[in-house]
């Protein structure tokens, strides 16, 4: 495999001004808004964008959505596609951007994901994207995203003795970071007791183990490290990436406590020539607290099964050994399927975080995770503000 480490960079980012509850904006509008900011941030003209990747949104299911979004914006790309890898898609889009440029199919690739998930019930769309596994789940009352993750939590508890209080630490730490982020929806600090006293959704997951349901969007622009030098924004170099899918649904999963992140992170570390000890922060997909805990183990920050004790004692807080989800994550900032995890990592590496107490001091390298579907899609991305020599 060609080593693409450091060959490509993120040169522009954009995020919708509003996150959380944005009933006045359509799914399309949320896309177009954050794309505009990414374009401005990169100092590019829309005519220069010749690659376009989007993540078909559940809130506006349409055939070949990417073409519609691109052309509505006035972008007429050579390379254009939707990707479908659940919450692992935002990182996969960056991966595909690098691949498209490497293959000579495009020079500047816009990657965007927006959703109107919170508002979508008010404006029903014609289509409906569903899973193929629904025949085997819904008749038994197995509906909603929490249950599959609750199965993983149950197995983690059974195999390793993990407790609800340990899972709660992830929510508490993430909320603390959100309290420092003016764009976060949930900013009131919480305690482990608050999580444990919140109602059960699907036991063993409490309400506060579960992420938000949000409207909003984010976009990034990828080009070569060479071209990045003449653009206004500080380039954030793509050092490594990987993706993995170990199973289709949980019935044939080889493990319920080791997921695709174990492979995708290894791919990313290998490409970057780095390991977990080199990461100064981690933006880890957190649809549920158990997701973050399993991913921290899969990424090698601790041994398998030790995630429960790893997240305790302030280790994953700002100022701790490994700050995790410094923006407040899906649990407390907004749920745009991991797109905002990438944007946060870029801003941390630009040292562009306000207020400054949310900035990881002197950050030079960090890792981002994506996770989707029935815990069966995973992506990893290592970013740095240092261009490898």
């Amino acid at each position: 495999m060609a080593n693409l480490s450091g060959k490509y960079a993120i040169v522009g980012i954009g995020q919708t001004k509003k996150l959380g509850k944005v009933p006045e904006m359509s799914t399309m509008a949320l896309h177009l808004e954050c794309m505009k900011y990414a374009l401005d941030d990169a100092g590019l003209k829309k005519e220069q964008i010749d690659g376009f990747v989007s993540n078909q949104p559940l809130s506006d299911p349409a055939h070949v959505y990417a073409t519609q979004v691109a052309h509505y914006f006035g972008i007429h790309p050579r390379y254009c596609t939707d990707l479908a890898f659940g919450g692992a898609t935002p990182i996969l889009m960056v991966e595909h951007a690098c691949m498209a440029i490497e293959a000579g199919l495009a020079d500047y690739v816009m990657c965007v994901h927006a959703r109107s998930q919170r508002t979508s019930a008010q404006f029903p769309k014609h289509g409906k994207l569903g899973g193929t596994e629904v025949d085997w789940t819904a008749p038994f009352g197995l509906v909603g995203a929490p249950a599959m993750h609750a199965f993983a939590a149950r197995r983690h508890m059974h195999e390793f003795g993990t407790t609800s209080a340990q899972l709660a630490e992830v929510a508490v730490s993430t909320r603390y970071h959100a309290s420092l982020n003016p764009t976060a929806e949930m900013r009131t600090p919480i305690t482990v007791e608050d999580v444990l006293n919140s109602r059960w959704i699907t036991e063993p997951l409490h309400l506060l183990d579960c992420c938000l349901n949000s409207d909003g969007g984010g976009a990034v622009i990828v080009t070569t490290a060479e071209r990045a030098q003449s653009l206004p924004a500080q380039p954030i170099y793509i050092l490594g990436f990987g993706s993995n899918t170990p199973h289709a649904d949980f019935l044939e999963a080889p493990s319920h406590t080791t997921l695709g992140g174990a492979v995708s992170s290894k791919m990313a570390y290998q490409m970057a020539g780095l390991g977990p000890k080199d990461m100064q922060f981690a933006e880890i997909y957190d649809c549920f607290t158990i997701t973050t805990m399993i991913t921290l183990e899969d990424y090698g920050f601790c041994q398998k099964g030790e995630g429960g004790s790893f997240v305790q004692g302030g280790r994953i807080r700002l100022g701790g050994e490994l700050p995790v989800n410094t923006h407040g994550g899906l649990l407390s900032q907004a749920h745009i399927e991991g797109e905002l995890h990438i944007l946060e990592a870029v801003q941390q590496l630009r040292h562009d975080i306000t207020p400054a107490e949310r900035q990881v001091p002197n950050a030079t390298v960090g890792i981002v995770s994506g996770h989707g579907g029935n815990l069966h899609c995973h992506t990893s991305l290592i970013l740095s503000n240092q261009r490898p020599s």
Binding site: F140, G141, V143, R154, H158, W200, E203, L251
Partner: protein
């Protein structure tokens, strides 16, 4: 029976033979004729050896709980009378896993490894759902 409001399967070419058999109280899954592997959900190819050859083999109905969750949040009015209710990943004696409900006991009595036996729940004239209860001692 006609006022049954919960979701029902929408069988296709692959899954119809399963549901048709369950309706006849015949709990069978596809078994590869070449390597003997039992697979679920149904499909035309063996994920172990890539053989297209299979038969619908009756299962013992004996199983155990692999993982269990309890629904407290109500996702739709049709489930309101049921909460709290159990959903489990059921590990069948023959190997495959499936999602189902453990019934006949309280959700908080269910545990990983609990021995189970099959019960047929004839929810409508068209559909029977395979469910499980604690195995008789």
């Amino acid at each position: 029976m006609t006022d049954y409001r919960k979701p029902l399967p929408l069988p296709d070419q692959d899954s119809k033979p399963f549901w048709d058999r369950v309706r006849e109280h015949n709990f069978s899954m596809q078994q590869c004729k070449d390597c003997g592997h039992f697979r679920f959900p149904p499909r035309i190819i063996c994920p172990e050896c890539s053989s297209f050859e299979y038969e619908w083999a009756p299962l013992s109905g004996r199983a155990q709980v692999f993982a269990h969750v309890t629904y407290h949040h109500i996702y739709g009015p049709m489930w309101a009378p049921d909460v709290p209710y159990n959903v489990s990943i059921i590990e069948l004696q023959e190997g495959p896993k499936m999602f189902s409900n453990v019934i006949g006991c309280k959700p908080d009595e269910v545990y990983v490894g609990m021995p189970l036996e099959l019960v047929y729940d004839d929810v409508t004239e068209e559909f029977t759902l395979p469910k499980f209860r604690p195995a008789a001692a």
